[in-house]
Amino acid sequence: MRYHTPQTFEDAARIAAAAQGVTRFLAGGTDVLVQMRAGMVQPDDLIDLKHIPGTQDIARTEDGGWRIGIAVPGIALGGHEALCADWPGVVEGMELVGSTQIQGRATLAGNLCNGSPAADSVPGLITAGAVVEITGPAGTRTLPVEDVPQGPGRTALKPGELVSAIILPPRGDYGGDCYLRFIPRTEMDIAVVGCAVNLRLKGGVIAEARVALGAVAPTVMLVPEAAAAIVGTALDAAAEEALAQAATAAAKPISDKRGTAEFRREVAGVLAKRAARIAFARAKGDTA
């Protein structure tokens, strides 16, 4: 295995494009090293991106959003007060990935590019309207996060392409988001169901909303019907119930070692309701 430490994304893309065998990018490494250890993947070329300047940075964009480096570990997101104030749902999704130790390494970009339908940070990114900047042999392009996953372990990245930044839009006023997941234990599990809700209030009523579900389909999915169920409401009981039903109806889960399809459908509704309540409270400015 060849180990590369490029200094620019362009170099990284060039190395990847030229590589003949199995190629993997290394940011936090919390998925790649596990796969190598299990013998699932034996890369011929491993490209460590952490030597590229800026990959460890969290920066405000000109329009008031955020540009997050691809090697920023979860613990750094959680330690960034302004980012947490803007996008608590995004940060809490990332902070749910693994243990404190994993948080010292795991990254948003890695969690996204691993392509797991259960990735905890992805629903929050999707509902936030985040986009990724992609660098490849043909230059850079951007893509909404919801368009990145294409199936379990598969992404829309082409050979030689890699995510070079994650960009969050400006939060704006009266917005709130939240991510909740269900796991059997209190920590250390992969989500059995995950749900993120992002919404904006206008005069106490939900003016816009996005709802995303994880672990109930081959990819994390945006559920417009669920969002529609609460837009125009003040999240009263009926709206919550409609939201839960829409989420349950949209879920297309499988039964596996982590949960049954029936359970996942039901809990998708429960989490949607609970996440919406928190997002709503956050949008109102409650310190939930």
Partner: protein, 748 residues
């Protein structure tokens, strides 16, 4: 040094620092994988990806051709002609004609680095003819189930039973039907428990060396170095005494490190590699796939009870699979299931069944948790139906000294009633519960075990003492044995060093299992100390010119036994030891026996849970363990056993379990999905040490290690019913099952 309230003893019952504490908090303690040797090679094991397959051909040529590879072994490199348990061990070490479970070893390689060894293992080509498989115990007894091994049944199995039944066992007493007829309520239910793994954090590791002269050495993490010696010697075909086995520090065992897995492979590889030492360290997935989990169980229980809570009769049929080899602890499960109760009539029947899973090993009170899950769950449900307080029912039916155990003989001194009284008196029982919260109670039992024991001790020139024991220290037994030795010799705790020694240093010892280390090695250490005391009294007597019988040992010194014996100042152990070279030579003591007088231990647990009615998630709010320790030598480590046992039982109850796919492959061979409790899953675990001294031990010790894993399974099921009205009869009680049960209960 904190000293607990009572105490007729100077040291027993205090809480000094453990002797190996410093090594273990600084990273210096050496565990199985921490040893290296000059010229060392690394081993790796080739494992079957199939649950059941004929091994058509193994081609090792590519692996052998890889640079750095020094040896490859297959079953052809092991001796033939083994029978019984030895054959089972050999077959489990390396598959012969067929791979019997996912993860079954089929070949092994040794190379100059771990990476080369892993590469070589991938280059071993095995042709398999996949065969039908079965992993569920009930399915394995179905008429059309694939037969795992023809003729594997032992003589206990009557003709006509399913060929996968390899052992059959039944016991009874009294008239069960008459008992049911007298009952006001008779209930019957079927329960299932899934296989769990001991989950010790240290994967198996060994460093083995074997020369062409048949002499070998091994460094290995094990609960019992003599077991390793005997089993390895049989499997690779050498003489037991020619193999010297040194136990490393051990990173947990819980029964799972009482037998062999890859250890003989290190020897076989070493022999083939010209005697170079070979280190093999299992990965976590190897541990979960191919070491010894528990059996899984399917159990029918029927109980009769009068309106006042009196149990009139019980009937149990247990079926257990312990993998592709005999050994599921169905007998122990049945013995323990009704043990806490006076049973006028019982009828118990058990089947040990083969399936395509790894060979089960012991796990903390083997069998008892399953049996308790069935019986304690049903009793709780019956109390609920009859409106009886479950503590009252337990007290009313509790066995006492002289009562006949459900399994036949009469109990000697036992402490169940004292345990139940202490439980009832505990403040946790009067804490009010809120919405969706429930309280569950259950009892548990384990026999404990004496076993072959050999201990030697020697007095040093300065009057301090060294004790050599053969039971590896998993949870503080060096401390408890040092306390008892120091108490007996009348010297400070710090003056005793307890060493866990290699097989060459003592006679045969059984492992640290059966809750026996503090009981058996402790009892033998006390005997050995008495032996040395006798000699020291004799030396003092000779010095004083009086009869040895006229000398007694008090507070670490010889003194005349009374005014008639003469008037001499006490002669301390240091004085006697200081001149032992000129008074007859070294002073030592030793003791070899299978100690009798084993003390059984009963426990009772109380758990409060809160259940999320929308997700089925179960949160443990508080947990209480009450158990009879006989006498707690080092109370902190007794509490530790109670807490650790409870935590493992909680894991078994809620989220742990082997998950096999349709293809017969283990789907959760990593800690990510084999879900042992993490710190945030648990509350503090309250403990009450009840002390009803065991008359069979000089300090009253009962083994305390095992009972604690038993009650959590039913206690949590009982608490979930109290919280939700839903009764779960299948483990693990994970959220999907709990939610489904809540919905079913609501539906009526």
């Amino acid at each position: 040094m904190a000293k607990d309230e009572y105490r007729e003893f100077r040291l027993v019952g205090t809480r000094p620092d453990r002797p190996d504490g410093l090594d273990k908090v600084t990273g210096r303690a050496r565990y199985g994988a921490d040893m290296t040797a000059p010229g060392m090679l690394w081993g790796a094991v080739v494992r079957s990806p199939h649950a059941h397959a004929r091994i058509v051909k193994i081609d090792t040529s590519k692996a052998e051709a890889l640079e750095g590879v020094k040896a490859v072994v297959t079953r052809a490199d092991l001796p033939t002609g083994l029978t019984g348990e030895d054959w089972d061990l050999q077959e489990n070490t390396l598959a012969g004609e067929r791979a019997l479970y996912d993860g079954h070893a089929v070949a092994a390689v040794a190379a100059t680095s771990a990476l080369i060894a892993q590469e070589a293992a991938r280059l071993v080509e095995v042709d398999y003819e996949v065969l039908p498989h079965v992993t569920d115990v009930d399915a394995a007894m179905a008429p059309d189930a694939p037969v795992i091994r023809e003729g594997a049944a032992d003589p206990t199995v009557p003709e006509g039973m399913h060929p996968n039944v390899v052992k059959y066992f039944a016991f009874d007493h009294g008239d069960v039907e008459a008992g049911f007829a007298q009952a006001d309520l008779v209930m019957e239910r079927t329960y299932k428990t899934e296989a769990t793994h001991q989950g010790y954090i240290e994967p198996h590791a060994c460093l083995g060396q074997l020369g062409s002269d048949g002499k070998g050495e091994m460094w290995v993490c094990t609960q019992g170095q003599w077991f390793i010696r005997r089993m390895c010697a049989a499997v690779v075909g050498i003489e037991a005494a020619q193999l010297r086995v040194t136990p490393s520090e051990i990173g947990g065992g819980f029964g799972g490190k009482t037998t062999i897995f890859m250890e003989p492979l290190s020897l076989a590889l070493s022999r083939k590699a010209g005697g170079r030492p070979v280190k093999i360290v299992m990965s976590r997935s190897e541990v979960l796939r191919a070491t010894g989990p528990t059996a899984s169980a399917s159990m029918d229980v029927k109980i009769g009870m009068k309106k006042d809570g009196t149990i009139t009769a019980g009937k149990a049929t247990f079926r257990m699979q312990g993998g592709a080899f005999p050994g599921a602890p169905v007998d122990m499960a049945l013995y323990c299931a009704f043990a806490p109760y006076k049973m006028p009539a019982v009828e118990c029947e058990g089947f040990d069944v083969l399936a395509n899973r790894p060979k089960c090993a012991a796990y903390r009170a083997p069998g008892s948790p399953m049996g308790a899950f069935a019986v304690e769950s049903l009793l709780d449900e019956m109390c609920r139906k009859l409106g009886i307080d479950p503590m009252d029912m337990r007290m009313k039916n509790a066995v006492r000294e002289g009562d006949r155990a459900a399994y036949g003989p009469k109990f000697g001194s036992i402490g169940l009633v004292e345990v139940l009284e202490a439980t009832r008196a505990h403040p946790n029982l009067s804490i009010p519960l809120g919405l969706n919260q429930g309280r569950g109670i259950a009892s548990g039992y384990w026999f404990n075990h004496g076993g072959e024991t050999s201990v030697s001790m020697a007095i040093s020139e300065d009057g301090t003492a060294q004790v050599s024991v053969g039971t590896p220290d998993i949870g503080g037994s060096r401390a408890s044995i040092a306390l008892m030795t120091a108490e007996t010799l009348g010297i400070p705790y710090e003056d005793v060093r307890v060493n866990v020694v290699e097989t060459g240093a003592l006679g045969v010892n059984e492992p640290t299992h059966g809750s026996r280390a503090t009981f058996a090695s402790g009892k033998a250490a006390v005997e050995a100390a008495q032996h040395a005391i006798k000699e020291m009294c004799r030396r003092a007597a000779a010095e004083w010119g009086i009869e040895p019988e006229a000398v007694e040992w008090v507070d670490g010194a010889a003194q005349p036994a009374g005014p008639n014996a003469g008037k001499f100042p006490p002669m301390t152990i240091a004085e006697i030891a200081g001149k032992m070279g000129s008074t007859g030579g070294p002073i030592s003591g030793h003791h070899e026996s299978v100690p009798g007088g084993v003390g059984e231990s009963f426990g009772c647990h109380v758990v409060d849970v809160e259940v999320d009615p929308e997700t089925g998630g179960v949160k443990i709010l508080r947990y209480l363990v009450v158990q009879d320790a006989g006498r707690a030598i080092h109370p902190s480590y007794v509490e530790g056993q109670y807490q650790g046992g409870a935590a493992q039982g909680i894991g078994w109850a809620l989220n742990e379990g082997y998950i096999y796919g349709e293809d017969g492959r283990l789907q959760n061979p990593v800690f990510l999905d084999y879900r042992v409790p993490v710190a945030s899953d648990l509350p503090m675990i309250d403990t009450v040490i009840v002390e009803v001294p065991n008359p069979g031990h000089p300090y009253g010790v009962r083994g305390v290690g095992e009972t604690g894993i038993t009650p959590p399974l039913p206690a949590i099921a009982n608490a979930i019913q109290a919280a939700t009205g839903a009764r779960l009869t299948e483990l693990p009680m994970n959220p999907p099952r709990v939610l489904a049960a809540i919905k079913a209960a609501k539906a009526g």
